[in-house]
Point group: C2
Chain length 410, copies 2
Amino acid sequence: MITRADCEALDRADPLRRFRDRFELPLGVIYLDGNSLGAMPKSARTAMNAVMEQWSRDLISSWNIHSWIDIHERVGMKIGKLIGAGEGETIAGDSSSVNLFKVLAAALALRPGRKTILSERENFPTDLYIAEGLMKQLGQGHRLKLVAPDEIAGAVDDDTAVVMLTHVNYRTGRMFDLNRVTGAAQAKGALMLWDLAHSAGAVPIDLTQANADFAIGCGYKFLNGGPGAPAFLTVAKRHIPHIQPALSGWFGHAAPFAFEQSYRPADGIVKMAVGTPPVLSFAALDAAVDLILEASIDAVRAKSLKQADIFAALMAQELKGHGFSLASPADPAQRGSQLCFDHEHGWPIMRALIARGVIGDYRAPNILRFGFTPLYLGFTELYDAIVILRDIMESCAWDKPEHHARARVT
Amino acid sequence: MITRADCEALDRADPLRRFRDRFELPLGVIYLDGNSLGAMPKSARTAMNAVMEQWSRDLISSWNIHSWIDIHERVGMKIGKLIGAGEGETIAGDSSSVNLFKVLAAALALRPGRKTILSERENFPTDLYIAEGLMKQLGQGHRLKLVAPDEIAGAVDDDTAVVMLTHVNYRTGRMFDLNRVTGAAQAKGALMLWDLAHSAGAVPIDLTQANADFAIGCGYKFLNGGPGAPAFLTVAKRHIPHIQPALSGWFGHAAPFAFEQSYRPADGIVKMAVGTPPVLSFAALDAAVDLILEASIDAVRAKSLKQADIFAALMAQELKGHGFSLASPADPAQRGSQLCFDHEHGWPIMRALIARGVIGDYRAPNILRFGFTPLYLGFTELYDAIVILRDIMESCAWDKPEHHARARVT
């Protein structure tokens, strides 16, 4: 039996507890959706004020005196540390979708004889859409082969150019074994491309140890970089000299300010940059990534595992018989930093939770998704969220159709 | 003979003078580089504070309650008004380079039998680089044909798929005749793609009247959207149903939050969106564009022409015999909102000007570039800039090689 006092004790003993004050959070809200949009670090506001000051005061000269000119490289290096990329393998900028286009195009060009992109059916849709668009544009007969997660390793064959997977599934939180799947792909000569959207900043990742070929990821989820923050991409050093950017813009040129007439790619990962970096958005992301580095990703993961453990135990203790079933893997080692539950009335239940200040989210058909963000979420909040959920379940008749209709329009 | 008192009188009579207070500008600086990075509107700071507040307080729900979800469409519509695009033809987001890739790919796909992209040698390099990268990726035998600006109309032929030009040249300020060149391209069956980086927010543009097919442009120059601000793209309505986005991301999907497995493009211009819009950067751009709409682009152009006229007259009056020659067209109707001068010692002269608080910029080999931004630049400042330049020229020996060496390292 877990009590509220137990959760308070966990909070008191929590080595990350001091980080909560480093975020601006609304009162009366229990935020379990940092996996969709991370909360705002106070340092992001400070950084934004500073960059607005630079812009207004130092104008064009800021590109040099405040080193705006390579902010995408600096922030990329920091993110690289969080995901175990080698030095000079990661650059930030653009959106995840655009970055996926860039690295997928590079990967296909490295395997010209192979025509299959292998992914899973439940991959985040934009990844599949980007692959579709690229294949259509190339017109070289590529195909996208989609299988169930467990079938991936067995589905790699001699025609597989690249295995493209999201490390942690956006709906269920199921996490692939980075090393094993990368090894299975490469054993058949395929390249491995990881989308780290739901894992960067949430779980320790070692791309170098896994020997991954490419990765991309998102800045606004567990990295807390702000809405639509710049994304990132990683290319293993062994491939960098051999790839030609499809999106060959001036910021990827060897000498952007020489204004040469022909494209000449930069030597390192910077060749994957395209246009002028969005400095304002970068200011927030830069500060946010610093905070995770300061806390350490291992400490974040340790607390996240404990939070998921407590949350699952409280669900079992307080909500037994209310029709929830775990939609995430039971094994914590196979999950990212979220827990999902199936419920036939998932949608109105989530609406009711949100109305009571418990912010999770809903993904069709029936999934209630709760994200754990150890830097700013406490154990007592988890307890309180469960009590509110129990209260909702005990006081509402979810099988009345008019309730659904009402909930859907709010 | 133009006196300082004359310039003061022009400032007093200037209908746009009140807009200067709407910008945050440093003291003691005469800013003639708004063509490279526009100054900061005070409303951009307010908007940024507001969006940071939304992020911290309303978190994920901000996407709906603060309409972040379609900010790229709303800002695109506003920019569309500035450039005479039809309703629903413009969307903001990504960088100019990425947007050029998108529309150039779409244009080439509309002219499958034609293999030439026609542009000018002195086009802004990233445009040429992006074309190179796209052609290489397509592998369909396209070629980039570069000619002098005056040769464009005559160089369009039956193989020309698209004429891709920057409306106002970044170095010289020379402005193409939008209607005439578009007509010449289309007369031979080619599509016309305009890069409005140095003209949007500076000169009135009527893409509809010109019957242009595609356009792109930059948010951080004359639009004052902040460093690396989101860019924009325009597609003529007649083409929208017939183009397939190469960068087919979830924000261009007909139903992004249905999480369908296959890409299904949205009906309108929104199909050209790709990833999640960078809301923080958009906040500043949105406020900045509002300011230009409030002032009216016609008033901006009228003052810009007057400023260039005064500046050129003062150069002639005060700097005769100092070796400056106009590198911009003499006819004001053929110029954007800048004046450029050639000088054999251009680089150290610009360094000396900047050291004295007159911020212009330098473009190799010998060009001193002065941009006019009527919303925040006064006539008296132009006078003072010229006096400082005269003072520099009279007090320095520009032909001493050691001066060059010294200037280059500062």
